[in-house]
């Protein structure tokens, strides 16, 4: 599995659609998440990955539950994702999650900070 496939597989494992941030169809149905794609190797610094949650709802319950789900999956020690030539170590950034306002009051958003350390050749 390439790094790109490994990241997509991880971010697609939460029960909602996942899109790379630069690859979201305008007609994509909510809820979904977007993530910034990052690539590096063992000699690089930790890369920042931003996850945005998009929900069409007037309640915070579902989107906050998804924040908790992602927090639990990453865990306090991070999550190692296997890929070709090694693994990607996903860790929580700080702050882990923040809410964002949207022009449409029926859209709820959360902004999640992660970092990725590439343990690959």
């Amino acid at each position: 599995m390439t790094k790109q496939e490994a990241l997509y597989s991880f971010f697609s494992s939460f029960g909602i659609a996942a899109h790379e941030e630069t690859n979201v169809d305008q007609s994509a149905e909510k809820p979904y998440l977007t993530y910034t794609y990052a690539d590096d190797d063992f000699w690089g610094n930790q890369a920042s990955i931003v996850v945005n949650l998009w929900y069409q709802t007037e309640s915070n319950a579902a989107i906050n539950a998804m924040v908790d789900t992602i927090a639990e999956a990453v865990g306090s020690g991070g999550k190692s994702i296997a890929c070709d030539e090694g693994a990607i170590w996903i860790k929580k950034g700080s702050p882990f999650a923040q809410s964002l306002a949207d022009d449409d009051p029926a859209i709820r958003r959360r902004y999640i900070n992660l970092t990725a350390e590439f343990l690959t050749a």
């Binding site: 063992f42 000699w43 020690g77 991070g78 999550k79 190692s80 296997a82 090694g86 693994a87 170590w89 343990l119 690959t120 050749a121």
Partner: protein, 196 residues
């Protein structure tokens, strides 16, 4: 570049995160009970196991220093050190080493002028290891410090608007009944995938 390389099994052989100190751990099953965690630490934990050598050839004419046939081990010093940011009476007693928790006023810990055999106890350091770190089959590095006793005593450093810090240093001990047993054991277990 020819030698700018990493091992092919890098991700599978890395020890990661700060780990924990505990009073008990079962390496055969990788089981750690949360009640057995001694306290939260800051800045990680330092674990060392260092031999002291005597070079019997050192003062022998015409014998080079560090001749392997003349080297003898004098002793091992096995230590765990770091800083706790949490403490209760049990931790205070551990830090003092020779101390007692009052049987009537259980909030009171009193240092003692003599060492009891009960003051020595095993301490485990455990951290995540390998690229499989799931709750059931996660890999670990576990190190057992045998018959540990605090050698650093009790130390509390407070700072305005920060957490109090309790520095610790524990040294393992050999028993006179079993002088060949070095007071530290190491377990390195690679993780495997969690059941689907």
């Amino acid at each position: 570049m020819k030698f700018t390389q990493i091992p092919a099994d890098l991700a599978a052989t890395l020890a990661v995160n700060a780990g924990v100190l505990a009073t008990a751990f079962v390496p055969s099953t990788g089981t750690l009970a949360s009640d057995d965690i001694i306290g939260a630490t800051t800045g990680g934990v330092s674990v060392t196991c260092v031999p002291s050598y005597t070079d019997f050839g050192e003062d022998v004419d015409n014998c080079p220093k560090n001749t392997k046939e003349m080297k003898q081990i004098e002793s091992w010093e096995c230590k765990m050190s770091g800083t706790f940011v949490t403490a209760d009476t049990t931790v205070a007693k551990m830090l003092l080493g020779a101390a007692d928790i009052d049987s009537i006023d259980t909030t009171k810990v009193t240092p003692r002028a003599t060492i009891d055999s009960a003051d020595f106890d095993d301490i485990w350091y455990i951290c995540d290891y390998s690229n499989y770190n799931g709750a059931t089959n996660g890999g670990f590095v576990a190190i057992k410090l045998i018959d540990a006793l605090s050698s650093g005593g009790f130390s509390l450093q407070s700072t305005d608007k920060e957490k109090g810090q309790f520095a610790f240093e524990f040294i393992g001990h050999t028993s006179i009944d079993d002088p060949d047993t070095i007071p530290m054991e190491f377990y390195i277990q690679a993780g495997t995938a969690e059941p689907a």
